[in-house]
Symmetry: C2
Subunit: 189 residues, 2 copies
Amino acid sequence: MALRHAVLAALLDGELSGYQLAKAFDLGVANFWHAQPQQLYAELSRLEKGGLIAGREVVQETRPNKRLFHVTEAGLAELGDFTAASAKPSFIRDDLVVMVQAADHVDSQALIAQLSERAAFAEAKIDLFGKMLRSMRGDHTEEEFLRHCDPIGPYLTCMRGLAFEQGNRDWCQHTITVLQERRQAHAHH
Amino acid sequence: MALRHAVLAALLDGELSGYQLAKAFDLGVANFWHAQPQQLYAELSRLEKGGLIAGREVVQETRPNKRLFHVTEAGLAELGDFTAASAKPSFIRDDLVVMVQAADHVDSQALIAQLSERAAFAEAKIDLFGKMLRSMRGDHTEEEFLRHCDPIGPYLTCMRGLAFEQGNRDWCQHTITVLQERRQAHAHH
DNA sequence: CCGCTCATGTAACAGGTTACATGATTTA
DNA sequence: TAAATCATGTAACCTGTTACATGAGCGG
């Protein structure tokens, strides 16, 4: 019952189709949740059956028709309940961190390659999030925007995504440096 | 096939029982993976059947007997393969972030309460990780330790955990400030 | 003409969570 | 004497991933 609320939250700022939603929940883009298209189509069906969202068919000529969904009153109430109930703690669950945990027992060259790849991925997301933030706040400074403008929810979650990816990148870079220095020290002995 | 490698990595620096492992993978402690005890006992059975770990019975008098597990050669090889294969990207999947995404449409008082709770949890983990790092490096400076000492894997993952929780805390505090200022502005209108 | 985008799903499987079960010992 | 710790599991369920399926239009 978690994707459920992520979908509701995503639909708050305007109607979206399953396809559009899928793009927003994509690995390379998602700033507050990730899910595959299949999961989203299934969840949209469930939410519609439950009356938490409602869809309207949009007939298109050159493209397949699509259904745009918006949150109903009942959906808003559900989100309210969700927000009132206490959030489960979150934690890191990351293959790369597991690899580093084993750093003393595996090939450090391979590890360095993984870390570089991840650092590059993080860098790309940092770039993307920076652009998203700039486009959301328009001509305002961040302070102004957060004080007076709407909506701020997506802006705040994007800030979290940005900080998370900066943390990833910095840690990857630092870890690479450490591993490389140790390789050199070992070579010299 | 992910918990599998997390368990192997955890067993690298000395044998552990299922119970001890469960404590290390606990929500409030875990710095590189989280899992419930049930999952761990099941995984240990599978790993043992597969010959990736081996256990030895330790008979105790005042306590129930326990089985201590260590990684075998085959297990080490498996970890090597895992590290060579490319790591899946990781992402945030967090109830609290979903709630903030909906910030413009839900009760901000409730949100602030959630954020405070999370900030306190993060603070506790920051404290814990700080202590773990200090105890691992002993009298060395961090630089010295990372250059010359063993093992560094657990130290590096702990650093990632620390940075992650600092990111959590800072974001929670900032978000609380923003929401409170807007409440006041709204009250004044 | 090949691959990408738009658009929506079904089915099988792997992974994670919650609930239940047991029982002795130590600490508050 | 109540609660926590040590120690290990089974079973049912919910969530997420991977594989497969379809089909028109658009850009290089």
